[in-house]
Amino acid sequence: MDRAEVDAKIRELAEPFNKKGIAIKEETTFANDLEFDSLTVMDFVAAIEDEFDIIISMNQQAEIETYGQLVDTVHKLQAD
């Protein structure tokens, strides 16, 4: 899957969690812009993990602040 396809899929998965319907850009942050709390993060991460059959450990999650970083990480993990 190329980056654009990963991006499209994650956008789709993010939709139910994006309660305020905020426009998601590469630099959109999960904590501040999307206001994801820890429970939302857990469910969102689980949805991505199941979709791509990968693990995003909490250590890796700690490095991800923006949407673009998430897409990069998932793109890399699913290619491995």
Binding site: L39, A46, E49, I55, S57, M58, N59, Q60
Partner: protein, 416 residues
Amino acid sequence: MSEGISQPDQPHVIEGEGKDLFSKFDDIIALREGLLSQGQEDPFNLVMEKVLSPTRAICNGRETILLGTYNYMGMTFDPDVVEAGKQALADFGSGTTGSRVLNGTYQGHKEVEQALMDFYDMDHAMVFSTGYQANLGIISTIAGKGDYVVLDIDSHASIWDGCKMGDAEIVPFKHNDIEAMEKRLRRIPEGAGKLVVLEGVYSMLGDIAPLKEMVAVAKKYGAMVLVDEAHSMGFIGENGRGVVETAGVIDDVDFIIGTFSKSVGTVGGFCVSNHPKFEIMRLVCRPYVFTASLPPSVVATACTSIRKLMHGSNKRAHLWENSRTLHKGLKDLGFQLGTEEPQSAIIAVIMPDLEKGAAMWEALIKGGLYVNLARPPATPANMTLLRCSLCAEHSEKEVGQILEIFEEAGKAVGII
């Protein structure tokens, strides 16, 4: 004014410097001040002026029934336990002033470890200065860089802190979800070290883990299994060994973590294991090495208490009876509870929000009942809970009184 001190009483404020390292706590300071400004008693600043028994104390000048102490088996005033402590205090002094691996291992430390090996019928037992340190030490030492820890999202802070300190890859799964756990284990790269961390009883809602299924799944993927049985010792399982015993998986788990600060009635933590190399932990586990060992009186009380818990079946039966009575009573009154059926000696009453929860807590304490107010972020799903933990020494009459106090407070606050 303080006389004779060459500094003003008030701290010197530097102009234009409102922010410092404490600024990150401003939100929680504001939340706390908001609650207290409504004239409420501070739920996190209660002082017990006198403790009358395992179930009664004088709090803020009032005689209070204790329903939030984790003193499940009521061993804190057991005459044999108290006597053992006094004797050790007289014979061995007030403290060891040293690490277990230097000058801090006394006869009593070896005796309490033997008592644990007998209690759990296991080959090795290692006693830590607190339960927190037992989780912190064992998890951080066995799961290092490159290893994976798979754990329930509702795990205790000591488990999370142990994960963080150990530098392993941390992979949480949804609470008690066997399938979510299996998926994560399946995705771990081949050859990586794997540790699954579970709890027998989860202390926030008082629910138990499906250990039979979970331990089988963990073993299928070649993971080591650690189970924290802090909230089950002495009254869950035929020999009081915990949910692992009820589930029939005690021989399949690699480590059981426990504490002396609940059923045992003092302070301290431990790990028991059958692993043939377990003893090396004493040299490589930093929270074990770099702290002073427990005082002689504490290990003596713990040892006596653990040996008495082996024969506590009557107390055990009464504790379960109390749990069932309280659960049913609260449910009948219309309170929302953490579990449909009583699964442990913890009964969590779910509050609509933090404000109502704090008001309810205050109404209860003024009515003569102490429970724990548990609030986010320590609670699952950001719930506010009034957590009740029963004691084998609560009489039938006391449980009746507890229900009366709950009914009155619940009506006054408008929850039922």
